[in-house]
């Protein structure tokens, strides 16, 4: 293990938990579109990406297991909402397709930048995962970008739906970058450059695209990042999601399929 002390391990765990929980929860949310998507090809693509997210989360839970946490199934299926570290953005219900698409766009670009930053992490096991999933996440951002461009430059209705969804989602998306108590440790250990750097790089990638498609990013004076998720404070939407997700596991934890 390439860590020097307890502090580094605690910091790495904190980072892994928020990443993996974000992926698991948005993966589960997006899978709720399976069978209900707007067209067959999109249904398959969106479901497939949802599975990708859950696969990524499993890989990160395995890293946590190596660091001494419980095994991935236990970690994913036996915690209550207040033990989750996901941001509020990922836990909101799927709403209409405009919201789900904008969430997919804002979240996946942040994930792409995060993985890009982690590709050179001093935590080599995590860096390997970041490099492994780069291509997969690149497709996710291509998909999101193509859709948002298509609808933001489409009919009056599709434009206004994209704009409204963006307005509703922006502050939630800013909540992705809620800082934890380990920002300095992560930085000095060379594990991760931190949420502030990530946020700046994310803005540099999404804002020019949104503006190019004629969408208005909400005025900076109205920005109010929705925090709390990283500390276990969640919306009322998370616990029902977890109850649904863990229904089979709760009936028979040893079931295999």
């Amino acid at each position: 293990m390439d860590f020097f002390n307890e502090d580094h391990i605690a910091a790495a765990k904190d980072l892994l938990y928020k990443m993996a929980d974000d992926q698991l929860i948005i993966g589960h949310r997006n899978s709720e579109w399976t069978g209900l998507g707007p067209l067959l090809e999109e249904d398959i693509a969106f479901s497939s990406m949802a599975q990708d997210k859950i696969g990524q989360s499993e890989h990160l839970y395995e890293l946590l297991h190596q660091l001494g946490e419980s095994d991935p199934d236990n970690v994913a299926f036996t915690r209550n909402a207040d033990q989750f570290h996901c941001c509020h953005l990922v836990e909101w219900p799927i709403g209409e397709y405009d919201f789900s698409l904008i969430r997919h766009f804002l979240f996946d670009f942040a994930e792409a930048v995060r993985f890009d930053m982690l590709a050179n992490s001093s935590y080599e096991d995590l860096a390997k995962i970041a490099r492994k999933y780069r291509g997969e996440i690149k497709y996710h951002t291509m998909h999101a970008n193509t859709w948002v461009q298509q609808l933001a430059t489409g009919s009056d209705e599709s434009k206004s739906r994209m704009q409204n969804a963006l307005n509703e989602t922006w502050n939630l998306a800013l909540g992705i970058f809620e800082e934890g108590k380990y920002e300095d440790t992560l930085k000095t250990a060379g594990i991760f450059e931190g949420e502030a750097v990530l946020k700046r790089r994310w803005m540099d990638s999404v804002i020019p695209l949104l503006e190019k498609y004629g969408l208005n990013v909400p005025d900076e004076s109205t920005w109010a990042p929705v925090y709390g998720g990283r500390q276990g404070f969640h919306t009322g939407h998370l616990q029902p999601l977890l109850s649904e997700m863990t229904e089979v596991y709760a009936i028979d934890p040893t079931a295999d399929w």
């Binding site: 709720e32 209900l36 067209l39 067959l40 090809e41 999109e42 398959i44 693509a45 497939s48 497709y139 291509m142 998909h143 193509t146 859709w147 461009q149 298509q150 649904e244």
Partner: protein, 126 residues
């Protein structure tokens, strides 16, 4: 309201009386033919179609429909209405094709000399 075993359906509050409206023809996207290349340098092989409003979306869908599993180097999409085909009524133009074995290189007289050359090389390399 429809109550389903699937909680997502129940949540959607679908009225039982709701009639399903068939899509108007104008609502349908055009189709694109998808060609899949396994390795760089190999031929692109036709694998099927996707529905999409434009080539960009068609490529996005082609990836998930036809390149989700197995090795892929490249994909092409071509609007289906840009494919020109022979008429099945004219299928008889192909009827004698399979009899023309004299066109196969395997029946060339020179094959004897090629085989003899290969045999010689084999002996020499032993």
């Amino acid at each position: 309201m429809i109550k389903s075993l699937d909680p997502r359906i129940t949540r959607a509050n679908i009225n039982v009386e709701d009639q399903i409206q068939p899509l108007q023809e104008m609502d349908q996207f055009q189709t694109y033919e998808v060609f899949h290349q396994k390795k760089r340098g190999q031929q692109h092989v036709h694998v099927g179609i996707v529905h999409a409003p434009n080539p960009d979306m068609a490529l996005i869908y082609a990836k998930e429909q036809y390149a989700r599993r197995g090795e892929t180097a490249n994909l092409w999409v071509v609007p289906s209405d840009q494919v020109f085909a022979t008429d099945y009524l004219d299928q008889d133009i192909f009827t004698t094709t399979e009899e023309k074995h004299y066109r196969d290189p395997g029946t060339y007289k020179v094959m004897d000399r090629i085989k003899a050359y290969k045999e010689r090389r084999k002996q020499e390399n032993k």
